[in-house]
Subunit: 193 residues, 2 copies
Amino acid sequence: MDELKERIRKEGKVLPGNIIKIDGFLNHRVDVKLMRSIAKEFARLFDTTGITKVLTVEASGIPIGTITAEELGVPLVYAKKAKSDNIEGGLLRSEIYSYTYKKKVTLLVSSNWLTSDDKVLVVDDFLANGEALSGIVDIINQAGAELIGMGVAVEKGFQPGGAKLRGMGINLKSLAIIESADENGIVFREAIY
Amino acid sequence: MDELKERIRKEGKVLPGNIIKIDGFLNHRVDVKLMRSIAKEFARLFDTTGITKVLTVEASGIPIGTITAEELGVPLVYAKKAKSDNIEGGLLRSEIYSYTYKKKVTLLVSSNWLTSDDKVLVVDDFLANGEALSGIVDIINQAGAELIGMGVAVEKGFQPGGAKLRGMGINLKSLAIIESADENGIVFREAIY
């Protein structure tokens, strides 16, 4: 998606340790117009016939999730990250390793809001190691719901998440795949959908 | 806002300890159509002339914040909740007590994304003790930004947050103010804007 790649090129900051900071439009300050363009691109790329929900992970997936859900005319469900040991009943859960928090985190979705009647599109802002999205797949399987595809705004192609999820047979489409990012600039992988 | 009150009456569950659960449309499964109605109501209730940003708090404020920002044609900024001791520089911060997590939490907003040039509308899904929203006011003051008003979907009128914020002179408008909630049902405060 050229508009997104252009924004990453113009506004992205490459920090040591392959960290790409794009918090000026994606995940702190959020350009909601760009989110609408991304949502329209997801609507174009996936066959969303019969879809019942858009699913994402708190917190940074929620802006894209909200607008994609509105674009597709279905509700959004976002997985919560458990912060306490007091986890109530009736919850689907998956334990993942969070590279952001450097510890294990439990993803939670109420079994009221994800069932075997659901047909879901998963969306997220960022894909690197794929821990959170693997946890979501685990939760969808527990619910017996159907995963129609996974739409990601920015994938770090040099980290293993994308290959892992595609290897599981998931229809994953990332709108910008960063092949490398260093002092010489950002190189994108060609991906034609 | 009648549509919102009707949904709370129909789908809200009153749990022991004055907890009102409306996670079926507001803050876990999200009815994005209702979020659009709420955003339009905020646009009607506040004079948003010259507004530069909508500001909210992660995670449950983000759906309403995203759609309100789009409705008003400005970017969204969401305050993050610090989860680690590794807080980088260039951040405005305010320490609050979180009743959800039962511990102190630091709200963070990058000083890149909130400055003295900003004129902001703050929105949130829920107001009870007002800790998070007081922290946001603190951060807005640190930035030297202008707060034009505060729009909340659901206020628990029997908890002190609303009175505290209004006592600070803030133009706070809540679309549904719950006066009491018990086994006899939910009673709303009349508030005509």
